[in-house]
């Protein structure tokens, strides 16, 4: 068990390092360096920087050193919580991001929760009542969920909300709470706004999970232990819920590790369409303006939060799967 946890932890750490390298590459990719961009930015607003000033800035940020040292310098600052300054906003990156990162996670977790609550019962029903009308409907809906990209779904919902209900579907807060300080009523306001974007995000994932659950459960239902359970004289519903469903839950739970990054990804693009104050719109702005410290930080933090989410799902799996817990193998 300790070995399993150790392996998962080291993999998570490895992933974080890989993400940080990719982030660094993204930051470094645009032509010119940070100082060039800073000078150009300053020049646009009428300021000037002398050649010596530029040189000393380059030295200060280590831009005159080899790339790997630059990476080391950057990552050591990041570890201390210093993500640099946003060029666009002229404020520390952490300040610009503010609540947005947490709101991204709130939306993604809500979507994850919804994915489960939708996919689990429908998947079970589809498998137990294979080839019933309900199964066909679920399969059909599942395919539609797979085929409609979530930003498209968001667009369609927006259009219908606007056209037929006359309301603007979108945002995470009502107007009066958008700038308000945090309080219980603001949290409640948030809670009222989260379900829609979460549902938009959850649809495709649910479609996928329903298929996984259905396929796994169909496999499990054919296994002899189900007959053993029936032969004990247990009521059918309990036979199914306690044995095959429980066994089919494991691959289902481990697939969360893939669903969660996907949801975080989706939240970026859905946020843009629905105007959610998550990191999505900010990331796009930052990328378009080549505000690379801001963009890089967002990519890095999203990546790390995903890794943490995945790690949690791995540990959850270990907790529910006795064989994994006891032998470290599944």
């Amino acid at each position: 068990m300790l070995m399993y946890i150790g392996r998962r932890l080291s993999l998570a750490l490895l992933t974080c390092v890989a993400i940080s390298i990719l982030t660094f590459i993204i930051i470094r990719l645009p032509p010119g360096d940070f100082v060039d961009a800073y000078i150009a930015n300053l020049a646009a607003s009428g300021g000037t920087v002398t050649a010596e000033q530029a040189q000393s800035m380059r030295h200060e940020y280590g831009l005159d050193r080899p790339v790997y040292i630059q990476y080391a310098l950057w990552i050591s600052r990041v570890v201390q919580g210093d993500f640099g300054v946003s060029m666009m906003w002229r404020r520390p990156v952490t300040e610009v991001i503010g609540d947005r990162l947490w709101l991204t996670m709130v939306v993604s977790f809500a979507a994850l929760f919804l994915t489960w609550t939708i996919a689990l019962p429908i998947g079970i029903y589809s498998a137990v009542r294979q080839y019933s009308i309900g199964d066909y409907i679920a399969t059909m809906l599942g395919f539609i969920g797979l085929a409609v990209p979530n930003f498209l779904l968001a667009l369609i919902l927006m259009y219908f909300g606007f056209r037929y209900l006359g309301l603007s579907v979108g945002g995470l807060f009502s107007a009066e709470y958008a700038q308000a300080p945090w309080g219980w009523d603001k949290v409640w306001d948030l809670a009222k706004h989260v379900p829609l974007p979460a549902a938009v995000l959850a649809l495709a994932g649910s479609a996928h999970q329903i298929r996984i659950m259905r396929a796994n459960l169909l496999d499990e239902l054919r296994k002899p232990y189900v007959i053993t359970a029936r032969a004990k004289g247990i009521p059918e519903l309990r036979v199914i819920m306690k044995y095959p469903v429980r066994a089919a839950l494991n691959p289902f739970a481990s697939s969360i590790a893939y669903v969660f990054p996907y949801l975080v990804s989706g939240s970026i693009i859905v946020s843009l369409v629905l105007g959610l104050p998550t990191v999505g719109p900010l990331l796009l702005q930052a990328l378009v303006a080549q505000d690379m410290f801001l963009a890089g930080t967002i990519v890095l933090l999203l990546g790390i939060m995903t890794v943490v989410g995945t790690l949690i799902s791995d540990l959850l799996l270990m907790w529910i799967e006795p064989r994994l817990r006891l032998t470290g193998r599944s």
């Binding site: 002899p224 232990y225 032969a231 004289g233 429980r246 006795p322």
Partner: protein, 337 residues
């Protein structure tokens, strides 16, 4: 002592089962009649696919979704005031459920696959105990430990909290037996209980089954394809071929004087210690036909060395009458006439 032959605890009469498949319906059982008696072991023998397991499942009404009983009766306690036709009970009702486990216990072939890997041995045992007569959690646990002890599992008080994947194959099968005994049924159906085990373990498990069956005066239906197991365990034997019982006889009689050509062939194909060196093992010519392509007439006639053209391939011989030794074969009918 009453003559057990006259008082079966379960009697199966003319049981027929069909499975729906893409290609059409397939008859898996045809006019199967059997009697199980308290304290006696009925061996059911035949090649794989002959309907042995289907018979067991049909009796408990746990056929797969596409299978259904189309004719016949399975009567529990026939001739008593509380006799019950199991085929007439509601498919998922409480009556049939109280029979499953409560009156008829089932032991499976694959001890690995027949136990859930998600729950401890104790959990699965206690469930089987509590579903019929719930003595409360504490008592159920004590009973589970006692059961494990009874089936010969060492250190039962720690093993009760083990998961099946932590046990060896032999121990798992003992757990399987304990599971079947949990609610103290008076009938046990053991479906190839030793096939998946190595030879030493096989012998131990058979000895255990024999002991339990004798001690508790259980009616045991032992399904196997192994003539050796039959010789060692059974009191009476039913030989099945392609969904039919083609011969029934007390075990000694069957081995001494088999009636049906198929039984004779089966017995010839058993390795013999007294055989001469390099003597070839006898085989039965041909293969078991596909279930969909059932031969007309006597199902065995395409492989039968003594088949009578024009007779065996047109008409099926009368099924074996329950309770009395006999075979479903025209040769036997002719000899008797």
């Amino acid at each position: 002592m009453v003559d057990p032959m006259n008082h079966p605890i379960v009697s199966v009469r003319d049981l027929a089962v069909e499975f729906r498949q893409h290609t059409g319906t397939v008859r898996a059982l045809e006019a199967v009649s059997l009697d199980l008696h308290p304290g006696r072991v009925l061996g059911i023998v035949g090649e794989s696919g002959c309907g042995k397991s289907v018979t067991a499942r049909a009796m408990l009404r746990i056929l797969d979704r596409n299978g259904s009983i189309v004719a016949g009766k399975v009567t529990l306690d026939p001739g008593t005031s509380h006799e019950q036709d199991l085929t007439a009970l509601a498919p998922e009702g409480s009556e049939i459920r109280s029979v499953r486990g409560g009156r008829i216990g089932l032991i499976f072939q694959e001890p690995m696959a027949a136990l859930s890997m998600q729950y401890t041995v104790g959990n699965q045992l206690m469930e089987a105990i509590r579903v019929h007569r719930d003595p409360g959690k504490e008592k159920a646990r004590e009973r589970a430990i006692a059961l494990l002890n009874e089936v010969g599992i060492p250190r039962p008080e720690t093993r009760v909290d083990a998961y099946p994947f932590q046990l060896s194959g032999g121990l798992r099968q003992r757990v399987g037996i304990a599971l079947a005994l949990a609610a103290e049924p008076d009938v046990l159906i053991a479906d190839e209980p030793t096939t998946a085990l190595d030879v030493t373990t096989q012998a131990q498990i058979l000895a255990l089954l024999r002991r339990l069956q004798r001690d508790k005066q259980i009616a045991l239906m032992l399904i196997t394809h192994d003539m050796g197991v039959i010789a060692q365990m059974a009191d009476d034997v039913a030989v099945m071929y392609l969904g039919r019982v083609i011969e029934f006889a007390p075990v000694r009689e069957l081995f001494r004087a088999p009636r049906h050509p198929y039984t004779k062939a089966l017995l010839r194909s058993v390795p013999d210690l007294d055989a001469k060196p390099r003597q070839r093992l006898a085989t039965i010519g041909g293969a078991v036909p596909q279930p969909g392509a059932r031969p007309s007439g006597c199902p065995f006639h395409p492989r039968c060395p003594d088949a009578m053209p024009g007779r065996c391939d047109t008409k099926a011989p009368a099924p074996v009458a329950p309770g009395a030794a006999g075979a479903a074969c025209f040769l036997v009918e002719d000899a008797a006439a």
